[in-house]
């Protein structure tokens, strides 16, 4: 009989653990931990497909648990299940936890079932290529026959009204095409002309909020890694950026030079890795959202770009 996938739940409220165990025990092997220390202990002893953690717990926050889980078991998908959306925890869960979903309590059982199912499936499919990545030499076999390997030379597009971010990134990356755009249309034009690895963007553009555009882009082109720079501090907004746009990093504006360059560096590496393996791409699948809700202007512009992209010959 095939082994059931393993899901680890971390929460300091035992009743939460009990109900989750009952809800998911039939389908998965469920591990429960009432705190960070116990969670790490279980992660050392078990291979886990998905870690679901509460945020506010004594001694160790959920973001910290997930950050360490990422180091210990990179293949495990990470989900934050929390009762109160607080800015620091959301930003931390993006930048440190690199989480798959941010789910708020009280959750809907059906929705959580679907999210977990999706996460487990993705974890199982991506575990093998991810482990391979962590081995020093590559065997160069069939599954990693992606067009661009880790030596990816995709462009960095900086979508921002002000030139400072663009100049900083351009100067720090000689040899890498860095393109500046003031509007979404300009950015899309750049991206249609040149394969793009990383998009650095402000949330507020002349066209308005870019979240919907990011969501559409990410849904159709999951290998695009996005870094959002924003002075805007709205928690619901950031949660959408995780769940619907799988944004890779969120940096507060004014942004520190080091943070930005480190973010870009890590985004390029990440892009190289995920674009080499379709299974890894799925790790950043975005949640379904109501298409009708999307502003038609933005949606049609992004679709126009994506159509042009499809007509483009594959890079050699």
């Amino acid at each position: 009989m095939q082994l059931k996938p393993t899901v680890l739940f971390v929460d300091d409220e035992e009743r939460i653990l009990r109900t989750l165990n009952l809800a998911f025990g039939a389908r998965y092997r469920v591990l429960t931990a009432n705190g960070g220390a116990r969670a790490l202990e279980l992660l050392r002893e078990n291979t886990v497909q998905v870690v679901v953690s509460d945020q506010r717990m004594p001694h160790m926050t959920g973001v910290e648990v997930l950050r360490q889980a990422r180091e210990m078991q990179p293949a495990a998908m990470r989900i934050l299940l929390t009762g109160y959306a607080e800015l620091a925890s959301i930003v931390g869960s993006i930048n440190d936890g690199e989480i798959f979903r941010y789910v708020q309590k009280p959750w809907q059982l059906d929705a959580l079932r679907n999210t977990l199912e999706e996460a487990v499936a993705i974890a199982e499919q991506s575990a093998a290529p991810l482990l391979k990545k962590h081995q020093p030499q590559k065997t160069g076999n069939e599954s990693t026959a992606a067009p661009a390997g880790t030596e990816d030379d995709g462009a960095i597009v900086v979508l921002d009204q002000r030139p400072d971010l663009f100049e900083l990134i351009r100067d720090s990356r000689p040899g890498r095409p860095v393109l500046s755009a003031g509007t979404l249309d300009e950015a899309l034009a750049h991206m249609a002309e040149q394969p793009t690895a990383v998009l650095v963007t402000d949330l507020n553009l002349p066209e308005g909020d870019i979240t919907d555009a990011l969501r559409l882009l990410k849904a159709r082109q999951p290998e695009l890694v996005t870094i959002v720079v924003t002075a805007f501090r709205d928690t619901t907004h950031l949660i959408r950026l995780i769940n619907q746009a799988q944004v890779y990093r969120v940096l507060p504006r004014p942004v520190s030079r080091n943070m930005l360059l480190r973010g870009v560096e890590s985004a390029l590496r990440h892009h190289g890795m995920i674009s080499a393996s379709p299974a890894l791409l799925r790790r950043h699948r975005v949640a379904e959202a109501n298409e009708v809700a999307v502003d038609n202007g933005v949606a049609s512009r992004v679709r126009g770009y994506l159509d042009r992209l499809r007509g483009r010959p594959a890079p050699v």
């Binding site: 409220e13 009743r15 009990r18 109900t19 009952l22 299940l81 009762g83 708020q104 009280p106 959750w107």
Partner: protein
């Protein structure tokens, strides 16, 4: 009051009184005083060639004439023998305040003389003490009004700040309580969904078992039919068993009821904490206030510290409980914020000196003496911009002192901080200053 824009000088008050020569006869001077033109004057200046020799007052003349045969004996003598040879001289460029100070210091009572206004020592006219005083009074009144305005302005902005501090702590409180409620809500909802699912499966299984029983009782039923019903019933039974919920049903309901209890308690606590439905001043047990503040702040506190409660038997204390709760929550959250990783917050209470003493201590980062001294100052904060108005403790201080109590803090950097508050059992006969109103909002 135009006086307050341009500084008033003595020259504005000067009266051009025609001086009298020193040789003028006393009787003539007396006649002058009776004349209509001099009706307002207390005295007349005696001047020779611009030089002020002295002044002669009605009072001087009266003294002369009140002697026996005074008018007959002295009436023809020159006035200079009866004048005051050292009158008050004021330079006409002098500011009104300085002049007033000088005049007040040197004038004799009862007021029988005015003062002489000179320019570089030369006679210019007379100044009346009464109009000088009147001018001064106007100024004081004007200044008083300006002060009243400034005070009103200050009070308005203070109550505005107190309000925004209240909103900030209210926001913090609501956020914390929302989280606290979402946790039980999380498992209550999940449990209810599980039980609904379970009930649906059980209902299906019941129908299947019913069908089976009926077919068993039915003589016309074929073996095929029976085994088919048996298969369905077994499958449905298994589906119910598979959930594992049957064995856990009791726990599930216990947890759900516990969660609902938690939610009710939190809601009750919110009401107790804000005391919206109570009298403003009430007799309360401060241990209950401590517990109420702990529940409201639990979400923030639990991830930073273990709470140790060491409560004594307390007499009831007369206070505005919602304000005291605000103070306790403020100190508790400060304590939690002072702890870097995970520490201990200790709450002690005891009866002391016709009142109650509460100590709240933490083993957090503590603070240096320079910070400790300023901790109750308005606007003083060590938190980053935007994370505190710097009013929390200053308002706490106000609230406690207005209750006739005391609040003090001791701290050792690296070792922790202890707040010690004391509240009297009885409030002194209701003395409410406007500031109490501001804090009470």
């Amino acid at each position: 009051m135009a006086g307050q824009q341009t500084p008033t000088r003595i020259s504005d008050l000067v009266m051009r009184v025609h001086p009298i020569p020193p040789q003028m006869r006393v009787a003539d001077v007396a006649d002058l005083f009776l004349a209509e033109a001099c009706a307002d004057l207390l005295c007349l200046p005696v001047v020779r060639g611009g030089e002020t020799l002295g002044i002669v007052s009605r009072y001087d003349i009266m003294r002369v004439f009140l002697r026996q045969y005074g008018r007959e004996v002295f009436g023809a003598r020159p006035i200079e023998r009866f004048m005051n040879p050292s009158p008050l001289l004021v330079e006409q460029s002098t500011g009104i305040e300085e002049a007033s100070r000088y005049v007040r210091q040197h004038m004799r009572l009862p007021i029988t003389e005015d003062f002489v206004v000179v320019e570089n020592g030369e006679y210019r006219g007379m100044g009346m003490v009464t109009s000088l005083l009147e001018k001064m009074e106007q100024r004081v009144a004007a200044r008083g009004q300006a002060l009243v305005r400034a005070n009103q302005h200050l009070k308005a902005s203070q109550s505005h700040l107190v309000q925004s501090e209240k909103m900030a702590s209210l926001g913090q409180m609501v956020a914390g309580v929302a989280h606290e409620i979402n946790t039980p809500l999380g498992y209550v909802r999940s449990n209810v969904e599980l039980v609904r699912d379970f009930a649906a499966r059980t209902a299906t299984a019941l129908v299947a078992s019913g069908n089976l029983v009926r077919s068993l009782m039915d003589e016309r039923a074929t073996d095929d039919e029976i085994s088919q019903h048996l298969a369905v019933a077994t499958a449905e039974q298994d589906s119910v068993a598979e959930t594992g919920i049957l064995d856990e049903l009791d726990n599930l309901f216990d947890d759900t009821l516990h969660g609902l209890g938690e939610i009710s308690e939190l809601v009750l606590n919110l009401r107790n904490f804000s005391r919206l439905d109570r009298a403003r001043v009430d007799r309360v047990n401060l241990n209950e206030c401590l517990d109420s503040a702990l529940t409201i702040g639990r979400n923030l506190i639990k991830q930073k510290a273990e709470v140790v409660r060491d409560y004594g038997d307390l007499p009831q204390v007369e206070c505005a409980a919602s304000q005291i709760n605000q103070v306790l929550l403020n100190i508790l959250t400060n304590a939690a914020q002072a702890i870097d990783d995970f520490g201990v917050i200790r709450l002690q209470s005891r009866a002391l000196d016709e009142g109650v003493e509460i100590r709240i201590s933490d083993n957090g980062s503590g603070m240096p003496e320079t910070v400790r001294q300023r901790i109750f100052d308005p606007f003083y904060t060590t938190k980053p911009v935007g994370q505190g108005t710097g009013l929390g403790l200053s308002i706490s201080y106000q609230i406690i002192t207005q209750h006739g109590g005391s609040i003090a803090v001791a701290s050792t950097p690296g070792a922790g901080t202890e707040f010690r508050l004391w509240l009297p059992q009885q409030q002194a006969a209701t003395q409410r200053t406007p500031a109490t109103e501001a804090a009470a909002g």
